[in-house]
């Protein structure tokens, strides 16, 4: 299973980014191979509109099964993501990536959809 974290860095110790559409980075954890891969998302900072769609596309292309974030997906992202099987979990905005993963495993995060 592939789990994507919205983050401000590339390691397990990095802080999470509470935002989804404008997250600085997406960190993809592949549970099967136990590897972390970073997808840069900083270009969204300069975009005025439509980042939700762009970031959602990155989730689809990364083959994400689960996305762990802080505030959750916005309106435009929902339009895309609700047509997929990707699951969103929120409430991890103030954690490190490692803490967010543990919280997810212990069912301590809220499921957005």
């Amino acid at each position: 299973m592939k789990i994507v974290f919205t983050t401000k860095g590339k390691t397990w110790e990095s802080p999470m980014d509470a935002r989804f559409g404008r997250a600085e980075m997406f960190l993809v954890y592949d549970e099967e191979t136990d590897t972390l891969e970073a997808i840069d998302n900083s270009a969204t900072e300069a975009m005025e509109h439509g980042v939700g769609g762009q970031s959602s596309k990155k989730m689809i292309n990364a083959g994400a099964n689960v996305v762990i974030t802080g505030n959750g997906a916005g309106e435009k992202a929902l339009k895309i993501l609700k047509t997929t099987k990707i699951e969103f979990f929120t409430g991890a905005g103030e954690m490190s990536v490692k803490e967010a993963y543990e919280a997810y495993k212990q069912n301590r995060l809220q499921k957005q959809f």
Partner: protein, 283 residues
């Protein structure tokens, strides 16, 4: 003549001045029409006891994906500057609210899979009272793109009232809707208040109008509050101060009750006379 009433800061009196000015001009026998271009929250009609006499649906053109011949090449997403098209592994998604109707995706699609189709964004309403006509653009809830509606409202007024003087009540701020409401006018009146907030936003509005090469004048509303920053600024920048409308609680009360002011408060009418004299001197 076309005159835009704009402001950097919101709540400085655009609607108060434009609705009263139009009504007063009409009462003096002038052929004048008011266009409310604050399409995200048009409220001039509230002050005019006017009857709805005509309406027109406002559309904008958006691409509609036709899957039949599409090869999912992704050219459409590539050429869209507004993230309105998303090229997904198995489909093309259009976000109509982000589309600027530029036609690039539609024209450049190799398989003609994105034909442009009309989509409603709002409505244009024409009202009439015993003195004059008012036209408003009213954007539908959830729509983000006000420019096409503003342009169509201006066009509607131009076509229906070719030989009338036009007063445009603009939205606040300095962004695209304000530019669309100002670029075709002969003159732009900027309304401000004499506070540091008013001055800050007036400065931004002046800079915007200068980029548009627009002729401008300033009205200071609620004169008597704040400081002399706005007056000094206008003096330094050689911007005419058309009138100063006195700060008066009675004006606010009438406004809150949805009433016109010039027929009840003398100093307000005097200010309108100064505006009319100024406009009369423009050529």
């Amino acid at each position: 003549m076309k005159i835009t009433i704009a402001s950097g800061k919101g709540g400085t009196g655009k609607t108060t001045v434009s609705s009263n000015l139009t009504s007063y001009l009409a009462s003096l026998g002038k052929k004048v029409v008011l266009a409310d271009l604050d399409v995200e929250e048009p409220n001039s009609a509230l002050f005019l006891n006017a009857e709805l006499v005509d309406s027109k649906i406002s559309n904008k053109m958006i691409p509609k994906w036709d899957a039949t011949d599409c090869t999912l090449c992704g050219k459409c997403e590539e050429v869209c500057n507004f993230n309105a098209i998303l090229h997904l592994p198995e489909e093309i998604r259009v976000f109509p609210e982000l589309c600027h109707s530029c036609y690039a995706c539609s024209e450049l699609c190799p398989t003609d899979s994105l034909p442009m189709t009309p989509s409603q964004i709002g409505i244009i309403n024409e009202y009439q009272n015993e003195l004059f006509t008012m036209v408003e653009g009213r954007l539908d809830l959830g729509q983000e793109m006000s420019i096409p509606l503003i342009a169509q409202t201006i066009e509607y007024v131009d076509e229906k009232f070719p030989d009338y003087m036009k007063i445009y009540d603009a939205p606040p701020g300095t962004s695209c809707p304000v530019i669309e409401s100002s670029r075709y006018s002969d003159f732009v009146i900027l309304i401000t208040e004499a506070t540091p907030f008013g001055l800050n936003d007036l400065t931004l509005a002046v800079e915007t109008m200068r980029v548009l090469n627009q002729k401008i004048g300033v009205i200071i509303n609620r004169y008597g509050i704040g400081d002399d920053g706005v007056e000094n600024y206008c003096h330094d920048e050689n911007i005419p101060i058309i009138t100063k409308i006195k700060n008066d609680r009675e004006v606010a009360k009438l406004y809150s009750n949805g009433e016109l002011i010039y027929d009840k408060i003398e100093h307000f009418k005097d200010s309108l006379d100064e505006i009319i004299a100024f406009i009369g001197g423009l050529k």
